[in-house]
Every structure is written in structure tokens, then in C-alpha cells.
């Protein structure tokens, strides 16, 4: 039931925020802040209280029938992966409200309604274990996002909002077809028609069917992630959205794509995914390099950051399709670290826009001496983006590369080149904005208290991820092994990649560990059903 509350609080908070505008123009902000804070507290409480029950992948489940005629149930479940994603969601959600405090001045009530409903949709996506409900939430998060971009965005907002909406909606409909295909195939094979994830997991599929269905799912996730060549909506949407919108887009919406790959594509279509893996990894590497090169040549700060997302998300798909625990741990870390570091860079861009009313890098420069606090904070964010050891992204990229090396050597080599490029474009931000002499600004104030309140948790979060990532890794492990179950069972086919010469020694021990954990996880799979 607590899982339902997580979503209901956001939705009700959204409505309340909209209505409370009548009372006072400032009230919606407080309502939104309160609702998200409540959710954050709930999820932190869940995190602390569930540490005792390690070993089982699924921490809480909640199931009630919704449309029994079609086998649709309102089914939510929480495992380590969802928990981490929810933590990220509410953390960034909280910051989004804070950064909008001064930026958003029109239609405050409606803005916070949309903000909270996007978060509700995202939370739903991370929690649901019913494919119908998954599609439902997948779409629920689109409309408010469309409004966030289209109403409060920058000069070219209508175009950007349209493009975002059409891309994601079109790909989402393909996923709907795949979901229905899976539903009917499972129904005719097993005799019970259901959208339940756990029951659909072991649907026997013919090779062709598996391939087609997988491409349906992939369409939605690869567009959302985004993977080159489906990325063209992203720079527009990111650069036109208001700061809070950009943070949510980069920090959370892209992660739903990655989450979908992990949660659905990998376990549902083991054979087809293995077939497709080399191509997916290739796409990932192309994304890493292409995103980095294009990012380097941008003059619009937000566009630049947007392209760095394309580059960083390349690591995600590279890692997912390596199918081993190292890589998947890296992917999970990357999702969180990228959410923080890119969100932070967008917030930085928001700070600058608030002061200068431009996103053009040529109009900036020389702020290091004028705004030392902003400079230091920015330095941490930029260093995180380029993957400096000690900050979150380093751990993520390192783990991903170690994992993908075992699957494909050459592609990993090229991916590593991407990190070098990341250094180039990241340092360019620092150089252009803070060091180089730029046009003289009359007044340029440093970060104030509210802005420090936003920036400091980001810095601390990145440092924590970089210095002591163990809690995250422990948290994610049971669910990662669960996702990889189908692969471990037929280990020989995967463990003999074409370049098997360089198989490192520790792999074997990890796999035995994994198997042991798997069996434990499987036998312990406990279903905690809420009393009502």
C-alpha cells in the first residue's frame, strides 16, 4: 500500500497545488515541495527499513485487480533497482521545485501540477509490474512534460514540445503493439490472458516473434534513451525546456528508457537480445563518440549539455547489452550519476540564464573571479561529467567498460576514447564560462542561499557516489542478478564471446556467486500483499 501512496501523494499534491493558486500565488510551491518531500521521506524510510531483508530481490509487492476481464491488475513492486530510481526521482523532483522558485512566475499553480504529474508518471513507470499499467504511466508522463516545455519554455518552445511529443508517442505506440503481441501469444500458449510481468517472463516465443516483439519494446526505449539516430528530439527539448523541465528530462525521463531496457528487454527476450547485442553495442559506441563530437561544437550551453547526455547514454546501452553483472552495475551507477551530474549542469545553465538571459557561450566568460562560489560548484559538476575519479560518473563508466570489455573488446576501446572526448567538451564549458575573458557584465551576483541549497546536495551526492558507492551496488545487486537469470542458465553460449581469449579470471567466481544469490533470491521470493 505504501507504494500506491508514493504515486497518490504526487497526483493529489498536483491537484492541490493547482487549486491552491487561488489562495495564494506562493502556496503551490510549498504544496509541491511538501508532497515531494513526503515521498522522499517515505522512500528513504523504505530504504533504511528494508536493509535487513537482503537476499530477496523483491522488497514489497502490491496487487489488486484493475480490469480483470483483460487480466490487467494494478500491480506495483519494489526492488533495489526501483528503489534507487525512486530515490533519484524524488531527489531531483525536490530540486526542480527549488530551482523554479524564482524562475517560474506565470501560471504557478498549473506549472506545479504538471511537475508533480510528470514525477507521478515516472514513479509509476519505475514501480509497475503490469505491462498495461506500464504503458499507462509511460504515457502519463508525456502530457505534463509537453506542457512544461510548451508553456514555460524558451523562444522555440512549441516546435520542441511537438517534436518531443511525436517522437515519444510514436515509439510508445510500437511498444503497445509489442505488449499486446506478447499478451496474446502468452494467452494462447498458457491459457490465461494477463499483462502481469512475472507471468509473462517465461513466455516461450519463436525466434521471429521474439525478434519482432523485442524491436517493439526497443523502439520506445531507444528513442527515450536516446540512441543515435533517434536522438534528434533531445537537443531541442532540452534546450527549450525551463530549467526544471530540463533537469527532469535529463535526470529522469531518459532513465526510464534505460530502466525499460534493464527491466523488460533483457529478461523478456534473452535469445533475441543476445542476437541484437553487437549491433546495440555498436549503436552505443556511435552515440558516445557522436554525442561527444557534436557537444564540443555547440555554442548554446543547454544544447551542449544535451549532447553530453547523448554521449553518456551511449554507455548505458553499451553496458546493458554486455549482459554481465559488472556492466549492469555500471549502468545503474551511470543512471544515478548522470542524473545528478547532468541535472546539475542544467541547473548551472539555469543560474546563468537567470543572470544573463542568454544561453550563448559567447556571451559568457570571466565569471571565476566574479562568482567564486558558482565557479567551485561548477568545477565539481564539470569534473563529474568528464569522469574524474572520486566522483560518481567515474565509477559508473569504469564498471561499464570493465563489463563490456568481456563482451566486446574493440567496441570498448572506442568507448574509452569517448571518455577522453568528454574531457575536451567538459573543460570547454569551464574555459568558456569561467576562465576566458568575456563581455563585461555590470553586475553578476554569486550564488545566494537558495541556490547553494540546491547546489550543495548535488555536490555531496556526486562525491558520495564517487567515494563510497558500495550501498548502491549492494542495493542493486539482487535485482541485477534477477534480470540476468535467463542468461546465467545458458552460460556457455554467452560466456564464449568471439574474443574469449581475454576472459579475466574473477569472472568465474562472480558467476558462481551470482548463481548462489539467484537461487536464494528465487526461493526467497516473497510476496507481501497488503491487507486491503
Amino acid at each position: 500500500m505504501i507504494l500506491v501512496w508514493l504515486i497518490v501523494i504526487l497526483m493529489a499534491g498536483g491537484l492541490l497545488a493547482w487549486l491552491s493558486k487561488k489562495v495564494s500565488p506562493e502556496l503551490p510551491r510549498w504544496v509541491a515541495l511538501g508532497a515531494i518531500l513526503l515521498d522522499l521521506i517515505l522512500i528513504v524510510y523504505l530504504w533504511i527499513s528494508t536493509e535487513a531483508t537482503t537476499g530477496s530481490a523483491w522488497l514489497i509487492r502490491y496487487d489488486i485487480p484493475w480490469i480483470p476481464q483483460w487480466g490487467v491488475s494494478f500491480s506495483l513492486a519494489l526492488d533495489g533497482l526501483s528503489l534507487l530510481m525512486l530515490l533519484l526521482t524524488f531527489f531531483l523532483g525536490l530540486l526542480s521545485v527549488l530551482i523554479s522558485w524564482k524562475e517560474i512566475k506565470t501560471k504557478v499553480g498549473f506549472f506545479h501540477f504538471n511537475l508533480l504529474w510528470v514525477l507521478a508518471g515516472i514513479a509509476g513507470v519505475f514501480l509497475t509490474m503490469d505491462l498495461f499499467l506500464f504503458y499507462f504511466f509511460w504515457e502519463v508522463m508525456l502530457i505534463p512534460m509537453y506542457f512544461l516545455i510548451g508553456v514555460w519554455g524558451h523562444e522555440n518552445r512549441t516546435y520542441a514540445a511537438f517534436k518531443f511529443f511525436l517522437f515519444t508517442q510514436a515509439s510508445g505506440l510500437l511498444m503497445l503493439l509489442a505488449i499486446l503481441g506478447l499478451y496474446f501469444i502468452h494467452g494462447s500458449e498458457a491459457g490465461n490472458y494477463t499483462f502481469n510481468y512475472f507471468e509473462l517472463l517465461n513466455t516461450p516465443l519463436t525466434t521471429d516473434a521474439a525478434r519482432l516483439l523485442m524491436f517493439g519494446f526497443l523502439a520506445a526505449f531507444l528513442v527515450k534513451l536516446p540512441v543515435v539516430p533517434f536522438h534528434s528530439w533531445l537537443p531541442d527539448a532540452h534546450s527549450q525546456a525551463p530549467t526544471a523541465g530540463s533537469v527532469i528530462l535529463a535526470g529522469l525521463l531518459l532513465k526510464t528508457g534505460a530502466y525499460g531496457l534493464l527491466r523488460f528487454v533483457v529478461p523478456l527476450f534473452p535469445t533475441a537480445a543476445v542476437e541484437f547485442a553487437p549491433w546495440a553495442m555498436l549503436l552505443g559506441v556511435i552515440g558516445i563518440l557522436y554525442g561527444a563530437i557534436v557537444a564540443y561544437s555547440q555554442t548554446d550551453l543547454k544544447r551542449l549539455v544535451a549532447y553530453t547526455s547523448v554521449s553518456h547514454m551511449g554507455f548505458v546501452i553499451l553496458g546493458v547489452f554486455a549482459f554481465n553483472e559488472w556492466a549492469l552495475q555500471g549502468v545503474v551507477m551511470q543512471m544515478i550519476a548522470h542524473g545528478l551530474s547532468t541535472g546539475a549542469l542544467f541547473i548551472l545553465a539555469g543560474f546563468l540564464y537567470e543572470r544573463l538571459h542568454t544561453r550563448d557561450l559567447a556571451q559568457m566568460g570571466g565569471f571565476w573571479s566574479k562568482a567564486p562560489r558558482m565557479g567551485v560548484v561548477a568545477l565539481v559538476f564539470v569534473m563529474a561529467t568528464l569522469g574524474l575519479p572520486g566522483l560518481g560518473n567515474f565509477i559508473a563508466e569504469f564498471l561499464t567498460l570493465v563489463g563490456s570489455w568481456q563482451a566486446n573488446n574493440w567496441l570498448t576501446v572506442f568507448a574509452t576514447i569517448g571518455i577522453v572526448m568528454a574531457t575536451a567538451y567538459s573543460l570547454r564549458i569551464m574555459q568558456k564560462v569561467f576562465y576566458e575573458p568575456g563581455p563585461q557584465q555590470e553586475t553578476f551576483r554569486d550564488l545566494n542561499f537558495r541556490e547553494m541549497l540546491i547546489a550543495v546536495p548535488m555536490v555531496l551526492g556526486l562525491l558520495w557516489l564517487g567515494l563510497y558507492p558500495q550501498p548502491i551496488i549492494d542495493m542493486a545487486r539482487p535485482s541485477i542478478t534477477e534480470q540476468l537469470q535467463a542468461y546465467n542458465m545458458k552460460e556457455p553460449t554467452i560466456a564464449e564471446p568471439k574474443t574469449a581469449v581475454l576472459q579475466p579470471e574473477p569472472e568465474a567466481t562472480i558467476n558462481t556467486n551470482q548463481l548462489a544469490i539467484n537461487q536464494r533470491a528465487f526461493s526467497n521470493l516473497q510476496i507481501i500483499q497488503s491487507p486491503n
Partner: protein
């Protein structure tokens, strides 16, 4: 006819009496409010009488009618929609100069025609229903005669509808010539053994389909739709979009299920082409429009195309999907045209996209309702339209109509563009402050605003919790052997 026959025909009789009473009252004393109340009450009474007819078995009135769950459900749907349309009409006509009272009379008559259609099992009753509906519409469409485009719309509809009726009659004659019967079941029996339809019979059925296709406004018989939608008063447009099409669709389902037309590849091919062409023509033509009523007209063409996808499934799930979709579509269409009617002023309907600019900031609630209706038409979750579209896609995939389903998905994306365009216009900041329009007394708006609120709530309710409606539809279809057998 026995006494029970009358009992079973009670909804139709109530409507007939309502027309007579209204006519007498008008003759004695013209008063908008009284006629409006009589109309609303008669719809409610007719709807109430349906509760007596909730049987699990079909009741046949030889040879014209059959009153079964399917028919009762469709009559109920039609009556409720007409009631909502009449509620929306009150404020709309109150601000107009013309004589208002006859409008309600025609509205009730047209509803009667649609009700007759969905329970008829004989060509005679079919034609009777169709003509009652059409002839009322001839007068309803150009009801506001002084408007610039109303004559064009009225004459266009008159000529084309008469033409299509002629086709239909000729088709019936050919079918009668080939089979010697005018009853659907008789026709079904005489073609039961045939592997392929003889040419004459095929021509006959084809001509009947032309008549039906015209009423539904599907490609290639869709030419009248945008002009008529644009020229007719907004509540009448709502009526054409919902009751008129719903009634004919109910008839089509009954007819086709009875004769099991899905056995014949030639009919299936024709309908598949029609469905795909309707989806594309409707959506593509809507993209360039600047007039909201025309956009909705083209969108209705494509929506009928979507419905045909489920129709092609030709089984119980398909009929369930159509019925569900129709409920969602009725709610949405009445809501959308209701907003148009509500925003219309004395001289013209609010039909240009310009009229909607910045609506969200001027009239937030109206804009919110309109947005919800448009999102439902686009098939976005939390609305009834989403579940409806989902049902149709599911029915299509269940029957492995991959081509049609993929086309439907493709068209959903195209359609999204123009629905979102209207919403985007509503969200734009108005550059100049418009001078506030003079409003009528607020009490008049209560009916319209209340209706729209009810529709919006229904939309969300069906979208979030469709179980009840699905259960209801499955229950009523049980009493129709032709559908369950498939």
C-alpha cells in the same frame, strides 16, 4: 401486435408521444423553456423504460424488430447522448433570434429514427428508421437559415443523403430479387451455403453498404462531412457525429453479423481498403485545417476508420471493442462540440482556431474540458479514448489483422499532431486583451456547464476504471447469439 410488444417498444412510443405533445404545446403557446423541459423529460422517461427491458433473451417482434441486449444498450446510448445534446442546445439557442421550439421536435424525431435503426431486422424497418433520421436532419442542419454556410450544408446533405437512400433502396431490391426475402435472418439462411456471392447479390449488398457508408461518412463517401459539420449549428453537429453515426453503425453490426459477411473475401477486401483509406484521408486532410469544426469532421472520418478495424475482427471481442469505443467517442464528441457550442456567440459558432487562442487564460475550466476531450480523441491515457483505442488494437491483434493495426498506430501519430495543435493554440498567450464577450444570464449556462462537467468526469472515470463498462457490454452481448457464436 400483442400487449407485450407495446411494452417492448415503449422507448420508441414515448418518443413518438413526446413529439406529438410538443407539437400541440407549440401550437398553443411558444415557450423555449417548456419545450426544452418536455424534450429532456421524454428522453429521461424513454431511458427509464429501458430498465424494464433488461432481459437476457432476445424478444422478437415479427418480422420488423428484435429487442435484445445489444439493441437496448445502443438505444440507451443514443437516448443519453440526445439528452446531453438537448442540454447543450438550450443555452446555444437561447441567444438566437430564430424560432427555437421546432428544433427540439426534430431532435426527438431524429433520435427516434436512430433507435429504430439499431433494433431493426428487416429492410422495411431499416429504411423507415433511416428516413426518419435523415429527414429530420434535412431540417436540422440548415436550422439557422440566416447563417452564411447553412444553406450550402443543408442542400449538400439533402442531395447526397437522398442519393444514398436511392442506392440503398436499389440494393434492397436486388437482394430481394436474388433471395426473395427482406428479413436479415432469411437472407442469412439463403446465403448460408454459398462459398461465393453471386454477382447480383453482391451488387445488392454493396449498394446497401454504400448507403451505410454515406451515413457513416467513410471514404469515399466522406465529402459531405466537413461542409455539413461546418455549416450546421454546433449541437446538431454533435448529434450527427454521435447519434446518427452510432445508430447506423449499430445497424451495420447487426446486419453483417447476421449474414456473416466476413466469410466473403471480396467484402473483407473492400472494407479493409475503406478502413485504411478513411484513417488516412481523415487524418491527413485534418492536418491543414484552420477551422475547429472541420478538424473535428475530418477526425471523425478517421475515427470511423479505427472503428472499422475492430469491425473487421468480426468476432465478439470486435463488437465489444466497437461498442466501448462508441461510448468513449460519444462522450468525447458531445463534449468537444459542447465546448464549441458554449463558446459560440450570437452571430457565428466559435470555429476558427483564432477563437481559441489563449482560451486557457480566459476560461480555464472550459479549456481544460476541451483539452481533455481532444486528448481522449488522440487516445492518451487517463481518458476513455485511450482504453477504447487499446480495446480496438487488442481486438485487431487478437484476429491478427496486422496491416490494419499498424495503419491504425501510424494514424494515431498523425492524428496526435492536429489535436495537440489545438491544445497548443489554447495555451498561447493572447497578444491583445480581447474585450470580454457579453454573457447571458449565468442560470442559462448551468445546463451547458453542468453537462460538460458530467462529460469530463465520465471521460476520466471510464478512462481510469473501465471495468464496469466492459462488464456491462459483455453482459448485454450475451443475449445476441449471432455475436456470441463467433
Amino acid at each position: 401486435m400483442s400487449q407485450t410488444d407495446f411494452l417492448y417498444l415503449m422507448p420508441l412510443l414515448i418518443l413518438t408521444f413526446a413529439v406529438l405533445i410538443s407539437m400541440l404545446v407549440i401550437a398553443a403557446w411558444r415557450n423555449h423553456k417548456i419545450i426544452y423541459v418536455i424534450t429532456a423529460l421524454s428522453f429521461i422517461a424513454a431511458f427509464g423504460s429501458l430498465f424494464e427491458l433488461r432481459t437476457t433473451t432476445a424478444y422478437v417482434i415479427e418480422p420488423m424488430f428484435v429487442i435484445d441486449g445489444f439493441g437496448v444498450f445502443y438505444i440507451g446510448m443514443i437516448l443519453l447522448t440526445s439528452l446531453l445534446v438537448s442540454m447543450l442546445s438550450y443555452a446555444y439557442f437561447e441567444q438566437r433570434e430564430e424560432r427555437k421550439e421546432e428544433y427540439y421536435l426534430l431532435l426527438v424525431l431524429a433520435t427516434l429514427g436512430a433507435c429504430v435503426l439499431v433494433i431493426s431486422t428487416h429492410f422495411a424497418s431499416l429504411f423507415l428508421g433511416l428516413e426518419i433520421l435523415s429527414i429530420s436532419l434535412y431540417a436540422l442542419i440548415p436550422y439557422l437559415r440566416t447563417r452564411p454556410r447553412s444553406d450550402e450544408a443543408g442542400i449538400k446533405y439533402l442531395i447526397l443523403a437522398a442519393f444514398s437512400s436511392a442506392f440503398m433502396l436499389f440494393g434492397m431490391a436486388l437482394v430481394y430479387f436474388s433471395t426473395g426475402t427482406m428479413v436479415f435472418s432469411g437472407l442469412a439462411q439463403s446465403i448460408a451455403g454459398m462459398q461465393e456471392l453471386p454477382l447480383l447479390l453482391l451488387t445488392g449488398i454493396g449498394m446497401i453498404l454504400i448507403g451505410v457508408g454515406f451515413k457513416l461518412g467513410i471514404v469515399p463517401f466522406h465529402m459531405w462531412t466537413p461542409d455539413v459539420y461546418e455549416g450546421a449549428p454546433a449541437p446538431v453537429t454533435a448529434f450527427i457525429a454521435t447519434v446518427s453515426k452510432g445508430g447506423v453503425l449499430g445497424l451495420l453490426i447487426r446486419f453483417f453479423m447476421e449474414i456473416d459477411g466476413f466469410r466473403y473475401p471480396v467484402l473483407v477486401t473492400i472494407l479493409t481498403i475503406v478502413a485504411i483509406a478513411s484513417m488516412f484521408a481523415g487524418n491527413l486532410l485534418a492536418l491543414m485545417q484552420k477551422n475547429v469544426k472541420r478538424i473535428l469532421a475530418y477526425s471523425s472520418i478517421s475515427h470511423l476508420g479505427y472503428i472499422l478495424v475492430a469491425f473487421m475482427a468480426g468476432n465478439q471481442m470486435g463488437v465489444e471493442a466497437i461498442t466501448f469505443y462508441l461510448v468513449a467517442y460519444f462522450i468525447t464528441s458531445v463534449g468537444a462540440f459542447g465546448v464549441v457550442a458554449m463558446l459560440s456567440d450570437k452571430n457565428s459558432d466559435a470555429e476558427l482556431l483564432e477563437d481559441y487562442k489563449g482560451l486557457l487564460w480566459r476560461r480555464p475550466w472550459t479549456a481544460a474540458v476541451f483539452s481533455a476531450m481532444l486528448l481522449s480523441l488522440a487516445g492518451i491515457p487517463l481518458t476513455a479514448g485511450f482504453v477504447g483505442k487499446f480495446y480496438i488494437i487488442a481486438a485487431g491483434i487478437n484476429d491478427q489483422l496486422w496491416l490494419l493495426v499498424v495503419m491504425l498506430v501510424l494514424n494515431s501519430v498523425i492524428g496526435l499532431y492536429y489535436y495537440i495543435k489545438i491544445i497548443a493554440v489554447m495555451f498561447q498567450q493572447p497578444e491583445t486583451e480581447r474585450e470580454p464577450t457579453i454573457r447571458l444570464r449565468p442560470s442559462i449556462y448551468v445546463a451547458s456547464a453542468g453537462t460538460l462537467a458530467v462529460l469530463a468526469l465520465l471521460l476520466v472515470y471510464v478512462g481510469v476504471y473501465p471495468t464496469g463498462l466492459v462488464q456491462l457490454i459483455q453482459n448485454v452481448l450475451v443475449s445476441v447469439p449471432e455475436i456470441v457464436a463467433k
